[in-house]
Assembly symmetry: C2
Homo-oligomer: 404 residues x 2
């Protein structure tokens, strides 16, 4: 893809509204666009990253046999009255009426709707276990939207729901999902930990949070640098008696053993293998997908810009063409890289090498290739690794081998 033909552009000044480093860098790189406080659009570059994250999630979900659907954003309020959560979530729920005075809300989460779907679909133990998930926009009337994609009024979530015949089944589904989530965050290049958590208005007894250490985190934990242990409690470390450090954490995901809270309230029953009517045992598993994007940038940047993990970078490779005459060579190299399944961005703009280099640092693709003046003579390409800043001078053949 050619830079000048694409809707990619950078902003030199720090945007006034930026409240943290991920917010600032995502706005300066125009990965996202602020429509209004807490409301963002994903511009093509940001949408590429988002889709790479989504594809990682989909692959992991497919591996554990979870099936994707898409629920509605508009929900009849009456669904929420059955579980009493219209009250629990009153503060953050966007409510509205249609022209026929029907009471609706914008789904802040989807336990009620999925339970309703399963109630009408599942009648027998033969249809269980079942894991359903969706990747969808959610709405919450946040008292204080902030940090860009970290806490918004409209955000993208991946929410999964498991349905089992008994607690053992739930245990298995929960474990599968727990493992899949670990795999997802690893593949996204995140440093994270898992902790036991409170279930709050979701219900159920057991829940775990997946947390990523980051300066802008809203949860506080304590860390023992000697034992490399994250803890809820304060000093001293129970293991080595050493001093603990305060660490701020972003919640990436939260998984819950819901049990029968929703199936009882909404009468989602099934007939077991002895013909007895029983409530379905549920679990729910949420990932803040758009928040993930922010958390990744919080953990992967330097003073010059973003350092995307390879798995989710909008492009694998950016080629800086410093001489107009080298564009054909760059495009021919791009073709070879595309054959190796690499996404390539070619910066062929009529800009100085300084501007191009700074933009490449800001946009954060892991491999930056420089085709400069002496390329035609030396036939060597300069490769800079965005993360380590290591520089290599390679022939095309060496480069293609290196990037394999």
């Amino acid at each position: 893809m050619l830079f000048s033909k694409s809707f990619i552009f950078t902003t030199r000044e720090d945007p006034k509204s930026a409240e943290c480093v991920s917010h600032r860098l995502l706005l300066r790189g125009n990965f996202i666009f602020m429509v209004s406080a807490g409301i963002y659009a994903y511009l093509p570059l940001g949408y590429r990253v988002l889709n790479k994250i989504i594809n990682i999630i989909r692959r992991q979900m497919e591996d554990i046999g979870a099936q994707e659907l898409l629920m509605s954003a508009l929900q009849p309020l009456e669904l929420w009255v059955k579980t009493g959560r219209d009250k629990d979530l009153e503060e953050v729920m966007f409510r509205l009426k249609d022209r026929k005075e029907r009471d609706l809300c914008l789904g802040p989460t989807h336990e009620e709707e999925i339970t309703e779907i399963v109630r009408k679909s599942v009648t027998s133990y033969r249809q269980l276990p079942l894991i359903l998930y969706q990747i969808q926009v959610k709405f919450r009337d946040e008292p204080r939207p902030r940090f860009g994609l970290v806490r918004g009024c409209e955000f993208i979530m991946k929410d999964a729901y498991s349905f089992d015949v008994d607690e053992d089944g739930l245990g298995l589904s929960y474990e599968k999902m727990y493992q899949a989530y670990q795999a997802i965050f690893k593949e996204c290049g995140l440093e994270f930990i898992v902790t036991e958590a409170e279930s709050g208005f979701m219900g159920g007894e057991i829940s775990h949070e997946f947390m990523a250490p980051a300066l802008i985190g809203e949860d506080i934990m304590f860390y023992c640098p000697r034992c490399r242990l994250y803890l809820r409690q304060q000093n001293p470390c129970p293991q080595c008696q050493g001093q603990l450090e305060e660490k701020r954490m972003i919640e990436l995901a939260h998984v819950f053993k819901l049990g029968t809270k929703y199936s009882l309230a909404q009468e989602a029953h099934f007939l077991d293998n002895q013909g007895r009517l029983k409530p379905i045992i549920m679990g729910c598993y949420g990932i803040g997908v758009s928040r993930l994007l922010a958390a990744i940038v919080e953990q992967n940047h330097d003073e010059k810009g973003i350092i995307w993990p390879e798995s989710i970078s909008p492009f694998d490779i950016e080629i800086l063409v410093l001489e107009e005459s080298l564009l054909t060579e760059a495009i021919s190299l791009e073709q070879k890289l595309i054959k190796k399944k690499k996404d390539v961005l070619i910066d062929e703009r009529a800009e100085s090498s300084g501007v191009k280099f700074n933009d490449a640092m800001l946009l954060g693709c892991p491999y930056i290739l420089v085709m400069g003046k002496n390329y035609l003579k030396s036939r060597r390409i300069d490769l800079e690794l965005r993360r380590t800043k290591e520089k290599l001078s390679l022939t095309e053949e060496e480069l293609l081998n290196y990037l394999k």
Copy 2:
């Protein structure tokens, strides 16, 4: 994929709420789930079809250099005040306030938001032409939601927007998009025509509608069976003077040359190659993606169920395993078909062959393979073509060749 492990199930009775054949078949096959009047969820089978349609659209958009983004569903009302369309669309616009009394609406369409994005991003003719598009949920407070996915309060649209320096540029963008839309509908297996249309509240002077003949269509046109011509006017045919037939049409897509309506109202200007400030010339191009699904079923069904066009069928092939002992053979065949990039559903339920066959007819995969009693002796598989009902008896090798 195994039928009994998947969230696929059929309903024998016609749902009471069904208002037309596509609605009835999509509900009976549980492709969709009615959450409330005009509000639907896409169950895994329906979501597979939807994603196949979306992938066709994405490929065509990529071919013409259009770039995908994702805008917000929540929009500040003030954006709409600038163009005066808060009044034009008052009737169908869902409005709400957040806890800080901020006036918001749920985007019924996105001309205002995209113009705002481009206004803040594009400053020079060098950044044009540009085509941006998204596939996103839209909201309209319909006075009469009906026919399932045809007219709902929440629906999925693909909306594209072109930005050019002058009318000639708009002409080119419009032509590209027009061609791409024809390719999309052809690939989706739709019978359709294109007609000039009124621009209404969208603005601009030239617009075209892509219409599909269907019993439940809400637009009326006239058709000359001799000349094979669709016309807006009534009898007689201007070409052959023959009798015209009344035909009902579903609107699939609408494309508009918007001109400067939005760029003037929202001050989206650029500097041309002589340094003069000019308003950007815009076009907009919408496809009702979820409606497409309904239109395709309206045109592709018989008394037994849906007949999916191959390009968008949830599975290419359904294998009916009529003897439990043949499941291993079926799975081995599935593996060979997967290698040929075919999606396969294996119906291995403990149901009668009649039930399985009826369900296969309802679900509508184009190729139905039957592995029955005498398979182990004859090593021949019965293939039934869903559309023509043609039946073939093939060896595995012949089958793999046939399905290439």
